[in-house]
């Protein structure tokens, strides 16, 4: 994420803050605070780039290339066990944590700043300048012509057959949201693939895969029922490699508006 993108992020949150009411103000305020930490021009794209190298050489072995291989931690998405502020991260890195399971790292100040910048930038050293449009217009598209609300639920409203998007703005970068809209096939997590199952009792089940192992599969079926099936009881088990919706036909302005709206979805406080 480059500094231009960070500024855009900042502006979006600020707009939300101005336009929103009630809960949205709270959400926006939270976003504003974190955006200030991010976008206070203290982390340059050079720092992020340098941080990516520090990360690769010092951190990736345990935390993994996408920062999610240690239980309870997703660095790219800002999910930590104990840390919240940048200062907390500094302490954890310099002193170690979890009873020595994470060793202390003696990094220089520049290296430390860089790796935190890289984490805060969502592991995106290049940055993608995604256009972020008007959330209000985006919301209209979401519920209307985009038919998103036909499958996705937001803040308790809508069906649950597709993933709940109430927190999607906190979980995904603008670039990832754009990719989901333009190239859904490349963005669908393998575990979430649509499935079609025929049981030994000739019941046909369609739905979304939630989890799977050697002997069983867990799904959310089209009737919104959580079901766990034993593979040995299945006559057919088809996994689709394509999501249920096609790449969007929206104009680029409309895509920008929709992303603008999705970025306001930051969950309940």
């Amino acid at each position: 994420m480059n500094s231009e993108l960070l500024r855009r992020f900042f502006r979006t949150d600020f707009r939300t803050f101005c336009q929103g009411t009630g809960l949205l103000i709270l959400i926006g305020l939270h976003g504003l605070v974190s955006a200030q930490e991010l976008g206070d021009h203290q982390y340059t794209s050079a720092a992020i780039e340098a941080g990516s190298r520090v990360y690769t050489s010092q951190c990736a072995l345990c935390h993994g290339p996408t920062g999610d291989t240690v239980d309870g931690i997703n660095l790219r998405r800002g999910i930590f066990r104990t840390a919240s502020s940048d200062e907390d991260l500094r302490t954890v890195i310099s002193r170690g944590a979890a009873e020595g399971q994470m060793p202390a790292f003696s990094l220089s100040q520049t290296e430390l700043d860089g790796v935190i910048a890289y984490i805060r930038a969502g592991f995106d050293p290049e940055g993608v300048a995604v256009r972020i449009g008007d959330p209000a217009r985006g919301q209209v598209l979401f519920s209307g012509r985009g038919q998103c609300a036909d499958c996705h639920r937001v803040n308790g409203v809508g069906p649950r057959t597709a993933p709940d998007l109430s927190e999607i703005g906190a979980l995904r970068t603008p670039a990832a949201l754009q990719r989901t809209l333009l190239e859904p096939e490349s963005a669908l997590l393998p575990i979430n693939r649509p499935i079609r199952i025929v049981t030994r009792d000739e019941e046909v089940i369609t739905g979304r895969r939630l989890n799977e192992d050697t002997y069983t599969v867990q799904i959310l079926d089209s009737q919104e029922r959580l079901r766990s099936l034993i593979k040995a009881d299945l006559v057919r088990y088809e996994i689709s490699s394509t999501p249920t919706h096609e790449p969007t036909t929206f104009s680029s302005d409309e895509v920008a508006d929709l992303i603008g709206y999705l970025l306001t979805l930051r969950g309940l406080q």
């Binding site: 190298r53 999610d68 239980d71 050697t214």
Partner: protein, 555 residues
């Protein structure tokens, strides 16, 4: 019935003094007992169940007919968060198991209740690449030995857990560590050192079991003037890695100990360290008394993929293609399965067991023909390897070698110039795992989530039964997730194992037929062990943070 009881009482009275004397004598575990470990299958006396490291037990109470009667007898929770890779040792009804980072517990093997616990707190600057792991203890006489994360070797009194000696194995400031269970041979305790990601110079060292005094130390990277030194350039050898972090095996007739040697450093930039980089990614045969190198066989010269050869050297005496041979079987992290003659390291067979594209095959001496992939293209097998450190099993009854393999798993490597700085990570680049979808979760060192987000599309396990006569696969058992689980076979032809999904599986060792499975929940990253107390056979397996022990209902 009454008569039977009377007889039993009389016999008990007659034998009681004798038994007490025997018990007192048996409370010791002299070298001879370890040497003949297979003759007392009620115990599990070494990391891999005996010097041949076959993980094959003579116990046969649990069979394919009665596996359905297995029941949980006890559980021992680990008090420390993180993958539990420890292998229990069982001596006359007492289990010795380690806990992260460096605790030892003596546990009643029948009830799971703890007699004592010893806690070593590693130095604050201890550094390990991949978690605060410890894989278990070794025993000799009345002592228990454990290596530590801060590169020390500790001897404890087996009865009360008291420290008898505590010596330095390596310099913790240079990121040396010990995670393996020691190997005891005669009067010596042997350990290797970890630190292959920190630019150490690896070695195996032997210590006097009575005093802790160092008896010998053999570097895995030859120094100036030694044979093989010219496989390095400049001062690369000084920080070239080649750690030894998995317990070796021993052939008493040849008086040789065998050790798998890990990756050269920096891990992913092979171009930065030209040459074969001996004895990284090799098996080395060391004289048990002097540590002198007898022979070596290098699996992956000038490795740029982190293909540590830290697998367990599995030994067997067999008729190999019509000739009596002392063989060593080895499913290597580099994707090839090897059979060597362990008297001199002669290459007998080497065949790929998963998709391999870093090499197009092996020449007549077993040396790989390299086919490096263009930058940005996937390399098979990926960074965690076709297999890794998880202990295999060999059953002399079936003649098959069993291990956990990772299928359809690839890595895209990136090499980068790395500068060596003492005690710091020395990796030379990075890697990403080939995923079907950009940004999809990728397989890490451990299982981090009860949901398998990466799915089988990123890699999955195949338990393979290999025929050492041909190097070919006899059968396989596939799993949806990958597996870091080791193997155990029994004289009733059971193959007992696990996987990251947390399933405890029992298969027919001859056919691969699934006989029993149970969801224990936590990832299984170690091999099960089996033992017998008072006529009951037990199987212990660690799942997540819990050591679970099973036996037959009614036994």
């Amino acid at each position: 019935m009454r008569k039977y009881h009377f007889l039993k009482s009389v016999l008990s009275l007659l034998l009681v003094t004798g038994l007490l004397a025997i018990q007192a004598a048996r409370a010791q575990v002299p070298y001879e007992r370890i040497l003949n470990a297979s003759s007392e299958p009620q115990n599990w006396l070494t990391y891999n169940g005996g010097y041949m490291s076959q993980r094959h037990s003579q116990l046969d109470q649990i069979t394919r007919e009665n596996v359905g009667d297995l029941e949980l007898r006890w559980m021992l929770p680990n008090q420390v968060f993180g993958a539990w890779q420890s292998n229990p040792i069982v001596v006359d009804g007492i289990m010795y198991v380690t806990e992260r980072p460096n605790s030892v517990m003596a546990v009643d093997a029948v009830t799971g209740r703890v007699f004592w616990k010893y806690r070593h707190i590693p130095a604050e600057n201890a550094r390990v690449c991949c978690g605060a792991n410890n894989r278990g203890v070794a025993v000799l006489d009345d002592r228990v030995f454990m290596g530590t994360l801060d590169a020390r070797l500790v001897a404890l009194d087996r009865i009360n857990g008291q420290v008898l000696w505590d010596v330095e194995v390596g310099d913790v400031n240079l990121a040396y560590s010990v995670t393996m269970a020691p190997l005891v041979v005669k009067d010596k305790v042997m350990v290797g050192v970890g630190g292959g990601e920190f630019g150490i110079r690896g070695y195996v060292a032997a210590f006097d079991a009575a005093t802790g005094e160092e008896a010998w130390k053999t570097y895995t990277i030859p120094g100036p003037g030694e044979p093989g030194h010219d496989s390095w350039e400049g001062d690369d050898w000084e920080h070239g890695g080649a750690p030894v972090w998995i317990t070796g095996s021993f052939d008493p007739e040849l008086n040789l100990t065998y050790w798998g040697v890990g990756n050269p450093g920096p891990d992913w930039n092979a171009g930065q360290r030209p040459g074969d980089n001996l004895y990284s990614d090799s098996v080395i045969a060391l004289n048990a008394d002097t540590g002198e190198l007898d022979w070596y066989f290098q699996f992956t010269p000038n490795d740029g993929y982190d293909y540590d050869s830290v697998q367990v050297p599995v030994l067997a005496d067999m008729e190999w293609r019509g000739e009596a041979r002392k063989v060593m079987m080895w499913a290597n992290r580099n994707g090839y399965f090897y059979v060597l003659d362990r008297t001199d390291g002669e290459f007998l067979v080497g065949e790929p067991y998963v998709r391999v594209n870093w090499s197009s095959g092996l020449d007549e001496n077993g040396r790989p023909i390299p086919t490096p992939q263009p930058e940005g293209m996937p390399t098979y097998p990926g960074n965690q390897g076709g297999t890794n450190w998880y202990p295999p099993s060999y059953s002399p009854r079936t003649g098959l070698f069993y291990f956990s393999a990772w299928e359809d798993y690839a890595t895209i490597y990136r090499a980068e110039e790395a500068e060596y700085e003492p005690g710091r990570a020395f990796l030379g680049g990075g890697f990403s795992v080939l995923a079907p979808v950009q940004g999809a979760p990728t397989i890490g060192i451990g299982r981090t989530n009860p949901i398998n987000n990466w799915t089988d599309e990123v890699g999955h396990a195949s338990l393979k039964a290999m025929d050492p006569q041909t190097g070919e696969e006899a059968w396989e058992f596939e799993q949806f997730d990958v597996s870091d689980s080791g193997m155990l076979t029994t004289a009733s032809d059971l193959l007992i194992t696990g996987g990251r999904e947390g399933y405890f599986h029992i298969l027919d060792a001859r056919t691969g037929e699934l006989l029993y499975y149970k969801n224990l929940g936590g990832q299984i990253v170690m091999a099960p062990v089996t033992y017998m107390v008072d006529g009951t056979q037990y199987v212990s397996i660690i799942s997540g943070n819990t050591l679970a022990t099973f036996a037959l209902r009614g036994q």
